[in-house]
């Protein structure tokens, strides 16, 4: 723990990023700064291989934390009092924005279906110029129609699906260059 002291961590949860700094630790009390608020965490039980739960209390409230499984890349899943939180470390949100910007510059991009469903309508057709945010397809799932917007400005090079087609999450819809 000591090696991380005073280092600023960036935690992104539900699209919001917090700055977390570990301050000092005395006995079983760890002080932590979250954004500008200082909190004292009293460790009640440290995690072990047999008992992977971390038990601690803040201002009397007891929390049970457990690292569930790591996700892809910089993502983690932590269970806190039964609820699951997906966490990105080191400013995951910013990174996502950056990668989008890079893609816009770098060129060809395959648009995939964000969820399983049925293609209700398709605006993308070969050689069509599309602008970022412009709808290129409508996907029906759970009795709702969902617009799929172009993530970048460019020209549609190939279209892989037809209106009415059933697609699975991750299936290719079209290629924008």
């Amino acid at each position: 723990m000591s090696k991380d002291s005073n280092q600023i961590h960036r935690l992104t949860v539900s699209g919001k990023t917090w700055l977390v700094t570990e301050l000092d630790r005395k006995n079983m009390v760890q002080r932590v700064e979250v954004d500008d608020e200082e909190l004292s965490i009293r460790i009640l039980k440290e995690p072990s291989v047999d008992q992977p739960n971390l038990l601690a209390s803040i201002a009397g409230r007891v929390f049970i934390g457990k690292l569930e499984e790591s996700g892809e890349g910089s993502g983690y899943v932590v269970r806190l009092n039964g609820r699951l939180f997906k966490i990105s470390l080191e400013g995951g949100q910013q990174k996502a924005q950056n990668s989008g910007a890079i893609a816009a510059v770098l060129g060809p991009m395959v648009i995939t279906a964000p969820m399983s469903g049925r293609i209700v309508s398709l605006k993308a057709s070969p050689e069509l110029l599309v602008h970022e945010g412009e709808p290129i397809a409508v996907l029906e799932a759970m009795k709702m129609e969902n617009e799929i917007a172009a993530p970048k400005t460019g020209t549609v090079r190939e279209v892989y699906v037809k209106p009415g087609a059933l697609v699975k999450a991750g299936d290719r819809l079209c290629l924008i260059i």
Partner: protein, 504 residues
């Protein structure tokens, strides 16, 4: 009593019907589509049969297939639940012709009210007001303009053949009519195969209030009070309560007597719901009669103790009405939250997927109707309703407070749900004051923040859990292994509009 019935539905309503059948000692037969094979309604039923792939048209809407399963499994009756084939006269006729009892009104009653004009004319003859509107099917925009001028703006353009919000448009001035009419007609054509439209006077800030009725043989009838269903998002009900907080006993009496008039005039049978619109001035207008069990029926059950599904089955069997109006006692207030698999922080995008953890709420006055369980997959083919969390209290305030507690206890991990929306509604002054209408949610919802609230304390704990020395070792081990957690796809869908706004 029936020995065995088939439930032509899925999800929470199929499970709910099975529960009443178990109570009555009736064996149950479930049907399931491919993605539903491991569902709770399949394992809760005594028998279950496959009826096709995920697409509803090829399974739950496949009349010949469902009727065939009913015959080969030797059931005596079929309960259609809500949605799917529930109000389909062809399905009811198919059952009747196969010698099966359809648990609901007879096919000819379902068919007669399929034409909403006939139903409205019946209402008028019975002396129940309807919203002023054009009586005919309008095909030409000029005709619409003449009718609109007669009615006065604002008006509502609606599809003559088809239900709910599809093809529906509010037109505020004469100038907008031509464009709106064209768009609505083409939408109606795509959705229902018929482009005819009609016009209705548009009421400002209306309330949607409905009356639950149960009609036995020879028109014997009881009513289980009203349900206030004005809390809607884009014409879809979100939260329902009973009694309606805006009604005094005189207004309630007037409303109920109108509902009974409609039931008698249409010679209605079995359980049904008479829907009304209430204007800001307090006038009621008849809308339509829903010929099925409804999603929100449970709140009427909670205040009266009457099992509506049991009454449906008893009437269909020929046992008659099991209770008189005098036996129906109304106790306290009840309120239901529709929990949908939708992501409110991403404009209510559908959120199918695997349920990593489900902890239902419990305790005094709480009822949960659901088919959720740990590890199940919510399929993308069907309605996004995954649970109903309802509360009952001696007063409306008690019901609200209990519901807030219940929602805070509920854990549904793995997918996004509309629980944060309900939590926001239950804190909203307009709602808590009881003074709301169908526009409340659409007016306010864009200003609400539904990204799950995470406190500083939780952030500190998440950080510590991630970085605790002894956790780190696990972390490295875990990173090497395959993950079941997919990161969200980069491209997020934006829901455009609901497909079937059935107002279930």
């Amino acid at each position: 009593m029936f020995r065995k019935i088939l439930i032509a539905n899925r999800g929470e309503i199929a499970v709910r019907i099975i529960r009443t059948c178990r109570k009555l000692g009736i064996k149950t037969v479930a049907v399931y589509s491919e993605p539903d094979i491991e569902s709770q309604h399949v394992t809760y039923a005594d028998e279950a049969y496959h009826i096709g792939p995920g697409q509803p048209s090829e399974s739950y809407l496949n009349i010949p297939k469902v009727v065939k399963v009913a015959k080969t499994s030797r059931v005596e009756a079929v309960h259609p639940g809500y949605g799917f084939l529930a109000e389909n006269p062809e399905f009811a006729r198919g059952c009747e012709e196969a010698g099966l009892v359809f648990i609901g009104p007879r096919s000819k009653i379902l068919a007669s009210a399929a034409n909403k004009f006939e139903s409205k004319e019946t209402a008028q003859r019975a002396g129940v007001p309807i919203i002023p509107g054009s009586k005919l099917e309008i095909e030409k925009v000029e005709e619409a303009e003449a009718e609109a001028n007669r009615l006065g703006f604002p008006i509502l353009v609606k599809a003559s053949y088809g239900g709910g919000g599809r093809g529906m448009r509010i037109v505020k001035t004469a100038r907008e009519l031509r464009r709106a009419f064209g768009l609505a007609a083409s939408e109606a054509e795509v959705a229902f195969g018929r482009s005819e439209l009609y016009l209705e006077k548009h009421l400002k800030n209306p309330r949607h209030i409905e009356v639950q009725i149960i009609v036995g043989p020879r028109g014997r009838l009881v009513q289980l009070g009203e349900r206030e269903c004005s809390l809607q998002r884009r014409h879809q009900k979100i939260l329902e309560e009973t009694p309606a907080p805006c009604l005094d006993s005189a207004a309630r009496k007037r409303l109920v007597s109108m509902a009974l008039k409609i039931a008698k005039a249409t010679r209605y049978e079995n359980a049904g719901t008479v829907e009304f619109v209430r204007s800001e001035q307090g006038d009621f207008y008849y809308m339509e009669i829903n010929k099925r069990i409804q999603v929100e029926h449970l709140i009427s059950e909670m205040v009266t103790g009457v099992d509506i599904v049991e009454q449906q089955i008893r009437i269909a069997y020929g046992d008659g009405l099991g209770l008189s109006q005098e036996e129906v006692q109304f106790n306290g207030a009840a309120m239901n939250c529709r929990i949908n698999a939708e992501d409110p922080s991403r404009n209510f995008a559908p959120a199918p997927g695997r349920i990593e953890e489900f902890v239902p709420p419990a305790g005094p006055g709480i009822r949960v109707d659901t088919a959720l369980f740990n590890g199940m997959v919510v399929p993308e083919y069907y309605d996004s309703l995954i649970a109903k969390i309802a509360s009952h209290g001696r007063t409306r305030d008690e019901a609200i407070q209990r519901l807030k507690g219940a929602l805070s206890e509920t854990i549904i991990a793995g997918i996004e749900t509309t629980i944060p929306v309900h939590q926001t509604i239950l804190e909203d002054e307009g709602f808590v004051g009881g003074d709301y209408h169908t526009q409340l949610l659409d007016n306010k919802i864009s200003a609400w923040d539904f990204s799950p609230h995470v406190s500083e304390e939780e952030i500190a704990m998440l950080h510590l859990t991630l970085n605790y020395p002894s956790s780190r070792r696990d972390k490295i081990q875990l990173q090497a292994s395959q993950s079941k957690w997919r990161t969200n796809p980069q491209i997020q869908p934006t829901p455009r509009k609901p497909l079937f706004v059935e107002g279930l």
